[in-house]
Homo-oligomer: 350 residues x 2
């Protein structure tokens, strides 16, 4: 009988953050693709677009005027999924199949730059530092509100990720409850911390830094790697090297290092298929529930959908929805491919 | 303070099958959409396509010839994510962050009809009965193989769901392990069964049949409803009324009733936006691990991506990936809309 070869044989890998498995089929990337192609993002956007509701000085759907902002700019989402109003609710406590509870929260939009045609990989490190400062301020201000226990910072980039406006921006959804994925993660981080009296992600990072197989880039304070249990073809995670529970724990050096690694990682993403690389990214960190969270370690997930080219994505559909996530190339291969990309943006190479 | 109104106020609902929550924002469907539009499926396909690798008599990529099949037809997936080969593997049992195990399995493709231009809503009930008979046979035959403990039957329909060929077909991935979603479901069904000595889904169904709010259609043996905790805008679930652990437990009457409800549900789906409605569907039932499974109840999930029209889907992206699934209309509203669709396919109405 042949011995298991993780680079060749179908196998499952375990994700200790959410206690779930992923099916890895290394050989499967060879199959031909006759399915749907995505539309390429426009390559020539103006610096200012008079029809864009995020550009400085423009009017939004609700009639409000954007200021002539020069760095980042935050406003309340005009079509928020959450509302601030307090709603009277009594939980009957009896066991029923119709368990529901009102959810209070605040949704904001964060414009990263006044320039319509920039994205993180093309922004100056100093401008990205300003975005990080904005995230810190929002985490603090929203977290201070008594009923806000969790602040989710995220970005949807590219039309294939449901983003309807190329103007560089992300969102923040702050709410009373811990969202499902965050709660799962916290439970697993907590169980590990209670058992080992140490931090799961920091221990994991030590192992990865020794092996070097899945590291994409690294600087003094942060590491970007393809997690051993990644589900998306080019999924990555940025982890802080020092124990930092949340973005407000960063030193000024760490802010600069984080801005730098954000820029360098997204440059490699753009270079991979020479396109403005779509993804959803999001920060996972300690909740703002007023409790100590030594089990948490600041990290940022990048979930990019592309698999084969700028127009062919991985579809997480039938088997993945009913069974479990499935990937076609190994995380080690993806890390190697990303690592080998130039650190200079392809548009600046020409 | 205003009292909680589940039809208007943002809230979370609990899914007892997988122990996860979904964020419901009823008011949010009003926001305008400027994002990506999907490509409409072709409305005029030939009954036979000489370039289709699934049509009878055609040659597949690997050189094999499809027989001149007249009903359904099953073959081994030419680019399987799973392989049958047994691989030698020793689990070290020590705790590590790099937990992986080889996975053995078989992937098959099930053509539903020799006709290239048919889909379930347009097929005769008798032909759908034949598809069900095929699923029964496959569940039995694959389940009999000693290392196969789970048989996942599913369909990806439409290019937006990663389906590269409109020829009506589904897939079967059979494997040694319980996939993540199935294991989660089984754990919750089992915990309920152990506690209440009764079946979670049958108890839930009784409640839904009393309330009638989320029922889409119903016949003597099956019910199609929008689950209270549905995440996709028009998600539904078909549940058997009698305790049936698996598809091979069906009586002949139940086969006919299941074929009928499959046709009637998908007709309503097609009628909703007058398009060949895309979805991923899949059957959840007892594993083939040789153990008794009174906690299981046969059911089939439909996860359709469309939200507003034939070309605008719901994007499960940033917040949904980092936080939790979010929906913009209530399940009750969706059920009402689906229920009010005609039972005659829109193409037959003209
Ligand atoms: O096997 P197919 O139809 O080529 O592939 C499709 O379904 C599979 C099972 O859900 C997915 O893994 C693929 O991403 C999807 O494109
Ligand atoms: O808020 P946006 O950018 O309009 O909407 C986008 O991101 C949201 C948060 O991930 C999703 O709920 C929407 O489905 C998506 O289209």
């Amino acid at each position: 009988m042949r011995k298991f070869d993780i680079n060749e044989d179908p196998h499952r890998r375990y994700n200790p953050l959410i206690n779930e498995w992923v099916l890895v089929s290394p050989h499967r990337s060879k199959r031909p693709w006759q399915g749907q192609n995505e539309v390429l993002p426009s390559d020539s956007l103006p610096e200012y677009d008079p029809t864009c509701y995020l550009c400085p000085g423009n009017v939004r759907v609700n009639g409000e005027l954007n200021p002539a902002y020069e760095k980042s700019f935050v406003f309340e989402n005009d079509f928020a999924a959450l509302k601030q109003e307090e709603i009277a609710f009594e939980d009957s406590k009896e066991e029923t199949f119709f368990k529901a509870q009102p959810e209070r929260g605040i949704s904001r939009v964060v414009c990263f730059s006044p320039k319509h045609n920039l994205t993180l990989p093309q922004m100056e490190v100093a401008s990205i530092e300003d975005v990080i400062a904005t995230w810190q301020r929002e985490y603090t201000d929203l977290g201070k509100i008594d009923y806000i226990n969790h602040v989710q910072i995220f970005e949807n980039k590219g039309s294939v990720m449901g983003c309807s406006n190329p103007h560089p921006h992300g969102q923040i959804w702050a709410q009373s409850s811990l969202p499902t994925e965050v709660e799962k993660t916290q439970n697993n981080l907590k169980a590990y911390f209670d058992k080992h009296k140490s931090n799961l992600l920091l221990d994991y990072l030590q192992q990865e830094l020794k092996l070097k197989e899945r590291i994409v880039i690294e600087n003094e304070h942060f590491v970007a790697l393809v997690p051993f249990w990644a589900i998306w073809p080019y999924e990555t995670m940025i982890i802080a090297k020092r124990h930092l529970e949340k973005i407000t724990d960063f030193s000024q050096d760490e802010v600069t290092a984080f801005a730098t690694i954000l820029k360098e990682l997204t440059i490699r993403y753009d270079n991979l298929f020479e396109t403005s690389f779509p993804y959803s990214s999001g920060i996972h960190q300690a909740p703002t529930d007023g409790i100590a969270h030594p089990e948490w370690q600041f990290h940022m997930h990048f979930y990019p959908p592309l698999l084969r080219s700028a127009t062919v994505k991985k579809f997480m559909v039938g088997y993945e929805m009913m069974g479990e996530s499935q990937r076609d190339i190994t995380p080690e291969k993806s890390a190697e491919i990303l690592r080998s990309q130039s650190g200079i943006h392809y548009k600046d190479q020409k």
